[in-house]
C-alpha cells in the first residue's frame, strides 16, 4: 500500500509537468492544426537557461530565494523569444504548404536546437544546485518532499491562470476565435499573425517553467532531456484530446499516473519478465492505444478528420 501511494504521488508530480508541456502542444495544435515537434527542445532550453543563470547568480553571491525567480524569469523570456523565432522561421512561411513540409522543418528545428545545446552546454549532466532545505514529509507511509509539493502546487496555479487568460481576456477570446475559424476571425478584425505568435510564446513560457521543474525534481539537466519529455507530453495531449486545454491537463496527470504505476508494477504483472527499465515504453503504448481506439482523446469532441 505504501508503494502504491508513493507511485501515485510520484505520478501526480511528474504528470503535472507533462500537463504543462502538453498545454504547449495542444494550444499550437488547436490554432494551427500543427504538431510543434520542437516543443520538447524548448523545454530543454528552458531548463538549461534557468540552470546556467542560477549557477552564475549563486556564484555572484545572490541569495537563493532571489536567484530562483530571477533565473526562472530569464528562462521564460529566453524561451518566449525562442518560441517566437521558431514560428517565424520554420512555420509561418509554410502555413499554406502541404502538411508534410512544416513537420519536416519542425524536426529540423528540433535537431538544430539539440545540437546547439550540446555545443553550448556540453554532453555532461548538469546538477541542479541545492537551494532550499528540501524536507521530506511522510503521508501514510509514502514520502513527499518540498520540491515536489512546490512543483505540484505551482503547476496547478499556472494551469488555472492559463484558463483565466483563455476564457476571460480579450486575447483569449481572439485565440479561441482563430482556433475555431481563421478566416472568420480575420474578417472580425483579429490580427491572426499576432495571435499565433502570442500562442507560441505562451506555450514556450509554460515550457520554460516545466523545464525548471523537471530539472529541480530530478536534480539534473541534460541536452537530450527534451526529446523524450516532449514525446510523452505529446502523448498526454493526445490522450486528453489534442486541441483541448482541459484535456491536456487531464492527459498529463493521467499519463504520469499510468507511467509510475506501470513502472512500479510491471515486474509483478509480467512475473519478472519485464522490469522498470521499460518505463519509457508505456507512453508509446498509451499513444498507440488512444490513437487506435479513441483518436479524439478523452475530452476531445471533434473526431479526428481524415487526410
Amino acid at each position: 500500500m505504501e508503494i502504491f501511494l508513493q507511485q501515485i504521488i510520484n505520478g501526480l508530480v511528474q504528470g503535472s509537468v507533462y500537463a504543462l508541456v502538453a498545454l504547449g502542444y495542444t494550444m499550437v495544435y488547436g490554432i494551427l492544426g500543427l504538431i510543434n515537434f520542437a516543443h520538447g527542445e524548448v523545454v530543454m532550453v528552458g531548463a538549461m537557461l534557468a540552470l546556467s543563470a542560477l549557477t552564475a547568480m549563486l556564484g555572484w553571491g545572490v541569495p537563493p530565494l532571489l536567484a530562483l525567480p530571477l533565473s526562472l524569469i530569464l528562462a521564460i523570456l529566453g524561451c518566449m523569444a525562442l518560441g517566437y523565432s521558431i514560428e517565424r522561421v520554420a512555420y509561418r512561411p509554410l502555413r499554406h504548404a502541404p502538411r508534410l513540409a512544416p513537420l519536416i522543418t519542425a524536426i529540423g528545428v528540433s535537431i538544430v536546437l539539440q545540437n546547439l545545446a550540446m555545443m553550448i552546454w556540453g554532453r555532461q549532466y548538469h546538477a541542479f544546485p541545492q537551494l532550499i532545505d528540501n524536507q521530506s514529509h511522510l503521508i501514510g507511509g509514502a514520502i513527499i518532499n518540498d520540491i515536489q509539493i512546490i512543483i505540484f502546487v505551482m503547476a496547478l496555479a499556472i494551469m488555472a491562470s492559463l484558463m483565466v487568460v483563455v476564457h476571460r481576456t480579450r486575447l483569449g477570446r481572439a485565440m479561441r476565435a482563430v482556433a475555431e475559424n481563421q478566416h472568420a476571425a480575420q474578417l472580425m478584425g483579429v490580427d491572426i499573425n499576432r495571435v499565433i505568435s502570442v500562442t507560441f510564446m505562451l506555450g514556450s513560457a509554460l515550457a520554460a517553467v516545466a523545464g525548471l521543474m523537471v530539472s529541480a525534481n530530478y536534480g539534473l539537466a541534460h541536452y537530450y532531456m527534451g526529446f523524450l519529455l516532449g514525446l510523452k507530453a505529446f502523448t498526454a495531449a493526445v490522450l486528453g484530446g489534442i486541441g483541448n486545454l482541459r484535456g491536456a491537463m487531464l492527459g498529463g496527470l493521467l499519463l504520469g499516473l499510468i507511467e509510475s504505476l506501470g513502472a512500479g508494477y510491471i515486474g509483478d504483472m509480467t512475473g519478472g519478465f519485464l522490469g522498470s527499465n521499460y518505463q519509457d515504453v508505456f507512453a508509446f503504448f498509451v499513444l498507440i492505444a488512444v490513437l487506435v481506439f479513441r483518436p479524439s482523446g478523452l475530452l476531445g469532441e471533434r473526431i479526428a478528420e481524415r487526410a
Binding site: L94, L100, T105, I107, N115, L291, A307
Partner: protein, 375 residues
C-alpha cells in the same frame, strides 16, 4: 538493368544512352580500385556504407516519397533485418540457449535474406495496420514511437533470457558467402586480387541496382500511380476507386522489406550489431537523404544518399584540422556539426526547395502549379 539507368540519361538518342550506360557501369565497376588507389581502403568501406544507405533511402522513398506517409522510425526495419541475421548467423544463440541450439543456427545468408525481408515487411504491416487510418502527423509520431520501442526492446532483452545480448550487441556474425567463397577474405579472380571491401562493394552494387529497378518499376506501375494519387489527395483517390488502406499498407510493407534487406546486408558486412546503430538519429539521417535529394525521385534520393553518407567523412577530415589550425584546439566536434547541418538542411530545403536538390519532374510541376495545395 539498362532500363534502370536509362532514366538518368534521358537526353540524346538510344545509341548515345547505351554508350552512357556502359560507361557508367564501367566506372562503377572500377570505382573501388580507383578509390583504393587515390584515397585509401577506408573510402571503399565508406562507399559500401553509402550503398547501404542508398538502399535504405530508396526504401523510405517508397513510404515518404511515393505514398506521402512520414515515417520517423524507419531504422527499426533496418534493425529487424540486421538482428534476424545476427541471431541466425552467429554463435550467440548457442551461448544464450545451449540447451536449444547447441551449435547455434548458422543459416546461410541467402536463406536468411528473404526471411528477414518478410519479417521486416510483417513488422511494417503490424505497425501500419492500426495507424494508417490516422492523419499524417499522428503517423509520424507513432512511427517515431515504434522505432524507439524496438530500440528499447533490443537494449533490454538480455534478461530474463538473453535474446539480444542487450547494449553489448551481437558479434561474430558469419560473413556473407557466395557458394564456397567467403566475402570476408581477399579473393583472386583472373589474377586480380579483390580485398573483402571490394567484394562487398560489388555485392552491394548488385543489390542497389536491384532496388533501383524495383523502385522504378513500382513508380511506373498501377500501384505507384495509386500511391502518388493518395499522396496528393487521399479523398479524391478513394473516390476514384483506389483502396487507400491496402495500398498504404503495401507501401509500408514494401519500404520495410527494403529496410530489412539492407539491414541483413549490414549485419553480414559489419559482423557485429548493437542497438546503438539504430537510434532515432539514423532514421532522421535517412529521412534527410530522401528530403534533400528529392522526395519521390529515384536519382535525387541516390544523390542525397551519396552526399549524406560522404559528408560525415569529409567533416571528420576537414573540421578538426581546420579548427586546430585556426584556434589551436577542437571547439566543435564533427559529429554534432554533422547533425547541426542535417537539421539546418531540413529547414532550408523545406523553405526554399521543397522538392529537393533533384526533384522529380512530376513533383516539380505539382509544386509549381499548386502553391496553396491544401492537404
Amino acid at each position: 538493368m539498362p532500363n534502370a539507368l536509362r532514366q538518368f540519361l534521358t537526353h540524346g538518342g538510344k545509341h548515345q544512352r547505351q554508350v552512357m550506360f556502359w560507361l557508367l557501369l564501367g566506372a562503377l565497376l572500377l570505382l573501388p580500385f580507383i578509390t583504393d588507389a587515390l584515397l585509401g581502403r577506408g573510402w571503399v568501406r565508406i562507399a559500401d556504407f553509402a550503398m547501404l544507405y542508398i538502399m535504405l533511402a530508396l526504401g523510405l522513398n517508397i513510404v515518404v516519397g511515393y505514398a506521402g506517409l512520414l515515417d520517423l522510425g524507419y531504422i527499426a526495419f533496418f534493425a529487424v533485418g540486421a538482428y534476424c541475421y545476427a541471431l541466425t548467423g552467429s554463435p550467440h544463440l548457442a551461448i544464450a540457449f545451449p540447451m536449444l541450439f547447441p551449435d547455434g543456427i548458422h543459416l546461410s545468408f541467402w536463406i536468411v535474406l528473404p526471411l528477414a525481408a518478410l519479417v521486416a515487411g510483417g513488422f511494417g504491416v503490424l505497425l501500419g495496420a492500426p495507424t494508417l487510418r490516422l492523419r499524417g502527423d499522428y503517423l509520424a509520431i507513432v512511427t517515431l514511437g515504434f522505432g524507439e520501442i524496438i530500440r528499447i526492446f533490443l537494449n533490454n532483452l538480455n534478461a530474463p533470457f538473453n535474446l539480444t545480448n542487450g547494449p553489448q550487441g551481437i558479434s561474430r556474425i558469419d560473413p556473407i558467402r557466395m557458394g564456397d567463397i567467403s566475402l570476408n577474405a581477399t579473393q583472386g579472380i583472373f589474377g586480380i586480387a579483390l580485398p573483402s571491401v571490394h567484394l562487398y562493394f560489388y555485392l552491394f552494387l548488385a543489390f542497389t541496382a536491384l532496388v533501383i529497378v524495383i523502385s522504378q518499376r513500382l513508380e511506373k506501375s498501377r500501384i505507384g500511380r495509386a500511391w502518388m494519387a493518395i499522396r496528393e489527395d487521399e479523398i479524391a483517390a478513394s473516390a476514384m476507386g483506389i483502396n487507400t488502406r491496402n495500398l498504404k499498407l503495401l507501401a509500408f510493407a514494401m519500404g520495410a522489406m527494403f529496410g530489412g534487406i539492407s539491414g541483413t546486408l549490414f549485419a553480414g558486412f559489419q559482423g557485429f550489431v548493437s542497438p546503438e546503430s539504430f537510434s532515432l538519429m539514423e532514421s532522421i539521417m535517412v529521412l534527410c537523404m530522401v528530403v534533400l535529394g528529392g522526395m519521390g525521385n529515384i536519382a535525387g534520393v541516390i544523390l542525397g544518399g551519396v552526399l549524406l553518407a560522404i559528408l560525415p567523412e569529409i567533416l571528420r577530415h576537414s573540421v578538426v584540422p581546420l579548427q586546430q589550425a585556426l584556434f589551436g584546439k577542437t571547439l566543435v566536434d564533427p559529429e554534432s556539426l554533422r547533425m547541426l547541418l542535417f537539421g539546418g538542411a531540413l529547414i532550408v530545403m523545406m523553405l526554399y526547395r521543397p522538392a529537393g536538390l533533384w526533384p522529380s519532374r512530376v513533383r516539380r510541376r505539382e509544386l509549381d502549379s499548386d502553391e496553396a495545395g491544401v492537404v
